[in-house]
């Protein structure tokens, strides 16, 4: 197949791969939210015709149409390194993975270079659209942290191998030195987060962490974390020490039993235009839990720190009206 034939062949299949990328993106989005990650950025992009042709020039392929497997790529970018294994679990549960490549494992312990986790998945009929039969087609999924993604975006054009000749040793050294920062950055962010979660002086952070996953799964909306911490600082007084000690389990149990009710109430309210802003915050789940089990303590605690009308309105929106004290 000469260059012109190859170009035409890829041009013809490119819309299918574009649709495949979008289908994978659509499948991943709710599954990742269900895993409790609400800030992952998921994008898809088919390879450009020129990129495809350039790749066939840079490398030697017997059958480029069959051998080039990244005709479409889906990228999942997460905030925390700790989220990467969760994303991997989602990918392996959603798709048939035919190849897994941890780029860091390719590097020796004395080497620095591109980091990231790559998967090749093979589509089945479940991803078919009205226009395309996806069965058997391959899609690449890359999983990056934000810092890995930033490094890859910046370094890629700098390490481009013009005519098979890479950048000079000093340029490569400069670029690879940055990878050390990326590794350090991700690990420090995870460590700092872990430390904050276990900080006894700020228990609201751990409370919010326990709420984040069920809230994301049930409601799937972003929220104002600073507002959450402010309200949780008050709400924790409505719990006994014993209840606070088992707060994550308490919330998980409550969400399992009443989560659908909570989601139904929130979604019902969201059909209107005058939605109580506190309703779409994770702490609304805590308020509902207290309304079920300790409404008087909730009322007294809230009223001593916050505007009573806010709780009255929120309780009404949650379908558990609480009269003003």
């Amino acid at each position: 197949m000469n260059g012109t034939q190859l170009e035409e062949a890829f041009r013809q299949v490119r819309p299918l791969y574009e649709a495949l990328g979008l289908a994978v993106e659509r499948a991943l989005t709710p599954a990742i939210k269900s895993a409790g990650i609400n800030d992952a950025v998921i994008t898809s992009r088919p390879k450009g015709v020129d990129e495809f042709l350039k790749k066939t020039v840079r490398k030697t392929y017997a059958d480029p149409m069959a051998e080039i497997t990244d005709k479409v790529g889906v990228r999942v970018v997460v905030s925390l390194l700790a989220h990467v294994p969760l994303i991997e679990a989602v990918i392996t549960s959603q798709f048939t993975v035919i190849e897994r490549l941890d780029k860091s494992e390719e590097l020796g312990d004395d080497q620095l270079g591109y980091l990231g986790l790559h998967f090749l998945i093979v589509a089945d009929a479940g991803l078919n659209t009205d226009d395309f039969d996806m069965d058997g087609h391959i899609c690449e999924i890359q999983v990056h942290t934000r810092s890995q993604n930033a490094w890859a975006s910046v370094s890629h054009p700098l390490t481009y191998k013009a005519g098979g000749v890479g950048p000079s040793s000093s340029v490569r050294r400069r670029i690879n030195r940055l990878v050390a920062l990326v590794e350090l950055f991700d690990q420090e962010v995870d460590a700092a987060r872990s430390q904050v979660m276990h900080d006894q002086d700020v228990p609201e952070v751990a409370m919010l962490d326990a709420l984040d996953r069920p809230f994301t799964v049930l409601i799937g909306r972003s929220y104002d974390a600073a507002l959450s911490l402010h309200i949780l600082h008050v709400l924790r007084e409505a719990f006994s020490e014993e209840e606070l000690a088992r707060f994550p389990a308490l919330i998980a149990d409550f969400a399992a039993e009443h989560g659908q009710y909570f989601a139904d109430r929130v979604n019902h309210e969201l059909e209107g235009t005058s939605v109580d802003p506190l309703l779409t915050q994770p702490e609304a789940l805590v308020v509902l839990e207290r309304l079920e089990h300790a409404r008087a303590k909730l009322r007294a605690t809230w009223d001593s720190h916050l505007e009573p009308i806010l709780l009255t309105r929120l309780s009404e929106s949650l379908g558990r009206p609480l009269q003003p004290a």
Binding site: Q260, Y261, A263, D264, R265, H268, E269, E271, G272, T273, S274, D276, E292, H293, A294, R295, A296, K297, R299, A300, T301, I309, T312, R313, E316, S317, L318, G319, R320, P321, Q323, P324, A325
Partner: protein
Amino acid sequence: MDIGTFAITRVIIHKIPRAKLSDKTTTPAELSDLVTALDADQRNYFEKRIKSSMQKAFEVVWDSETDSPSPVPAAIMGCFDDSTYDEEQFVEQSRLIATHLHSKQLGGSPSGLLTVAEGTIGSGATGAIIGRCIVVLKLELESGISVDTVQTGGKSSLKVRIEDVTLTETTRVFKAGLFNRFNTLPDLKGWVSDAQLGSATAGRVIADFFLEDFLGCAMKETDEVVTMKFAAAADDFTDSITDEEKKFRYLTAIRSELESNNPTLDPEKLANDHFDVDDRDNFINRFKLADGQIQQIHKNIDLIRREVTRTWVDFDDGVRVTGPPEAVERYMAAIRGATNALGDPIITSGIKKIR
């Protein structure tokens, strides 16, 4: 029935003018021919008001012993007959209900809106059965809500305007009856709330009018039995309090509420008014119904008058102090404060039981 899951499916509103009995024919009710279109905010507003009303509602049944039966139960039952029920039927039955209210309402009643809402209770997702229910809502026209008559193809309906749908109106007078599906009148079961029920002066009269004359219902349990059960549950609560001084204070508050002229008793309000914060939910949760509502008590202490009007304090040494709760509390306080010449308390024996 979890009232929190209540969702309106359609609503019709009729205008009931103020009219003396003699003027009923010259000042007729303004009956709508069509259901009222509500946007999501207005729908949410009505749902919240109904849920709030039902939070403090009484369980009712069909009043089979009345001499002058109300047509309202049969009209509501018509909304559950799937073989004939449709929107036209809903409108028709609501007009019957509004006409009956207009004919029965006394001249002193202010003009208002009779709203009949069809809704569902329950969520399929939680496994509960989604059931149709009918709500009859009587509200007074006041600032914040207004209606305009709209003509569509020669038929009239009322368009609602709510000035601020986020406004929490705790003072607005609502009377509401919510009825789940029933197929024969003896099977009628529902919930009725009335913001004026708590009024010591007018409460009973209003209850009789709205509940019996208009809705054709009666309280599910007699007031005497409900009050007796409340007192027993309240005793269980005070028995769980280990601090004797606190127990005495709570007992006095409960008995004082039971003896007051107020015809109703709200356990939540009682707890919030008289108990320490940490003890309130222990009390309130005893009166929480399966659907999340707090049981309201329509008081009648005839069966427990002796227990309510007297308090007994038994001491470990066999001494018993008894009398009206307030008198015993004053007496006990005086004893607690008194000391002998050496500064020791006069009573050294512990309290064995308070009831």
